[in-house]
């Protein structure tokens, strides 16, 4: 099975979120980037498990700058066979999806895997867009994925529950918790990653659909009002009369 795994970077979850240039740019000062957890823990590891049981190849693709090669090397160290970097700033989901779809069209993948969302923009957009560009089925937020020939069996979250579904390849699947267990790269993997092929490709031209114009931070929360543990009637009264939530 020929699998393409889409890898993005995201700031380490404990990073301080701040903006510069008149609140138009994310302040990268001191920010540590990691592989987006859903991409690394679930999409990539499940792709590797499938390759280990049924054979095939796992290619990773990222749309990003040269600085993002550290996350590519990490994914290669975990076990991907080869990597592709589309050499461009990932300006919006439509831009990213166009680049990934263009590459996927030329290279015949049975399966394209993504994370369920990036933890910086939380858009859940790229995977569905890629599926539409390729005109293939899209199973979103899958927590299990099994392959039998050209049939994929998936468990996916639906509004208010879970569904077991079947889809034929080629298909796009976005991966959520449950799909696989995180793998820590070992020394051999890290050494091997240095010599694995990394192809750098120029981006295709894309019309701009959306752009982030500016950012802002939430208003500072007013101080927490402390309530005596023996006086729950007061809390109920505040929730009713002051906060008006009950």
């Amino acid at each position: 099975m020929n699998i393409l795994v889409c890898i993005s970077k995201s700031p380490d979850t404990t990073s301080k979120i701040a903006f510069t240039d008149g609140n138009t740019k994310f302040d990268e000062n001191g920010v540590q980037y990691i592989v987006n957890p859903y991409d690394e823990w679930y999409a990539l590891v499940r792709a590797l498990e499938l390759k280990e049981t049924i054979g095939g190849n796992v290619t990773i693709i990222t749309v990003g700058n040269a600085a993002d090669e550290s996350i590519i090397r990490k994914a290669l160290a975990i076990g991907a066979d080869n990597a592709v970097r589309i050499d461009a700033e990932p300006t919006d989901a439509f831009f990213v999806a166009t680049q990934i779809a263009d590459y996927a069209k030329k290279n015949n993948f049975d399966l394209v895997l993504t994370g369920k969302e990036t933890i910086n923009y939380n858009g859940s957009q790229v995977a569905g867009m890629v599926a539409e560009f390729l005109d293939v089925p899209f199973a979103s937020q899958a927590s299990k994925l099994d392959v039998n020939g050209t049939t994929l069996t998936l468990e996916q979250e639906i509004v208010g529950g879970l569904q077991i579904v079947e889809v034929s390849t080629p298909a796009v699947v976005s991966c959520a918790k449950g799909m696989a267990e995180q793998r820590i790269p070992n020394m051999r993997g890290i050494m091997a990653a240095r010599t694995k092929p990394l192809e750098v490709i120029a981006p295709s031209a894309v019309e701009v659909y959306t752009s982030f114009e500016s950012y802002s931070l939430p208003d500072a929360k007013k101080a927490c009002r402390m309530i005596d543990p023996s006086n729950m009637a007061e809390l109920v009264d505040l929730l009713h009369n002051e906060a008006k939530v009950i």
Binding site: P37, Q125, Y209, R225
Partner: protein
């Protein structure tokens, strides 16, 4: 602006649907709703400002490719300039597909009405709720996926005309083999009130006091990640950055420390109540009301006080 709202099957009476229709109404133009399946109850959306509801009733289950085709046909039929979704699991699959199909820019996770003075921009949640972004859309048709609980539904009175609609949905590509829905409980992402507990509860046998409070309130229950990971509670209750993100009106957290990854899933809540025995617990910094105390004593007292309140009102 002429708006089209997509509503899930059997969701004509859901609060998230009222929010999406209210949002569309506030854009100032004609509001059409498109749905598939059973049309019963569809006219009620007129109360929130829908002029017309188009229902494709030849089909009861559809995959995201089919729903995309349905919404695209409805955009063509109505000449809608803006398409609105409630940002749920269906929208997360359909809206991006539709963006490509219609060549329409998508605003994912909007939390406010658009600003249209200078172009078309809309406020969204980014960095797991730790910041906001202002996204500009440059395409003629725009798609907005609205985060639940971002605007208040407004009942303006009226009923909508319900019409059958041929959605050109095509063949199904995703075959459903089995569906599992937890019975009775309120689905977490739709809940207005949520009671949540963490490792401070010490063990699964102690969840009775959490459920008692939830029952009196009519709230859904949630938990922190370690609690789901060790199997004290089912996984679908896990909230936070790697679990479900929720934005209820009231979030009550007992025995949860308030780690940044937990906050990422709940910081959109309107009001947060924290019960923790440690006055230094980080969660108090994100709380509106705090109680330093033992959850085993405080939760039953709160349940008692709520019962008294409900009886008096």
């Amino acid at each position: 602006m002429k708006a089209l709202v997509y509503i899930n099957t059997n969701h004509f009476a859901a609060k998230a649907s009222f929010e999406a229709v209210t949002y569309a109404k506030k854009l100032g133009g004609e509001v059409t709703v498109v749905a598939y399946g059973n049309a019963a109850g569809a006219e009620a959306l007129g109360a929130y400002g829908a002029n017309k509801v188009l229902v494709e009733s030849s089909i009861n289950e559809a995959d995201n490719q089919q729903i995309t085709r349905l919404v695209a046909s409805a955009v063509e039929a109505t000449g809608a300039e803006v398409v609105i979704f409630s940002h749920d699991l269906v929208a997360k699959a359909v809206a991006p597909r539709l963006s490509v199909r219609l060549k329409a820019g998508l605003i994912s996770g909007a939390i406010a009405l658009p600003e249209t003075g200078n172009g078309f921009t809309c406020k969204v949640n980014v960095f797991s709720g730790k910041a906001f972004g202002n996204v500009a859309v440059k395409t003629a048709v725009k798609i907005i996926s609205l985060l639940p609980n971002s605007i208040q539904p407004e009942n303006v009175g009226g009923t909508a005309i319900v019409e059958t609609f041929n959605g050109n949905m095509g063949a199904v590509a995703i075959k459903v083999m089995d569906t599992k829905k937890p019975e009775g409980s309120i689905p977490l992402p739709e809940a207005d009130l949520v009671v949540s507990a963490g490792r401070g509860l010490k063990g699964p046998e102690n969840w009775g006091i959490v459920e008692d409070l939830a029952n009196v309130l009519g709230a859904a229950t949630a938990c922190s990640r370690p609690v789901a990971d060790i199997g004290w509670r089912p996984h679908h209750e896990h909230v936070g950055q790697t679990g479900v993100a929720i934005r209820p009106n009231l979030y009550i957290a007992a025995g949860i420390s308030g780690a940044i990854q937990h906050l990422a899933g709940v910081n959109g809540s309107k009001v947060i109540v924290v019960i923790n025995s440690d006055s230094e617990a980080p969660f108090f910094k994100a709380a509106d009301y705090g109680i330093v105390g033992d959850a085993f004593e405080v939760l039953p007292k709160l349940t008692e006080a709520l019962k008294n309140f409900k009886n008096a009102n």
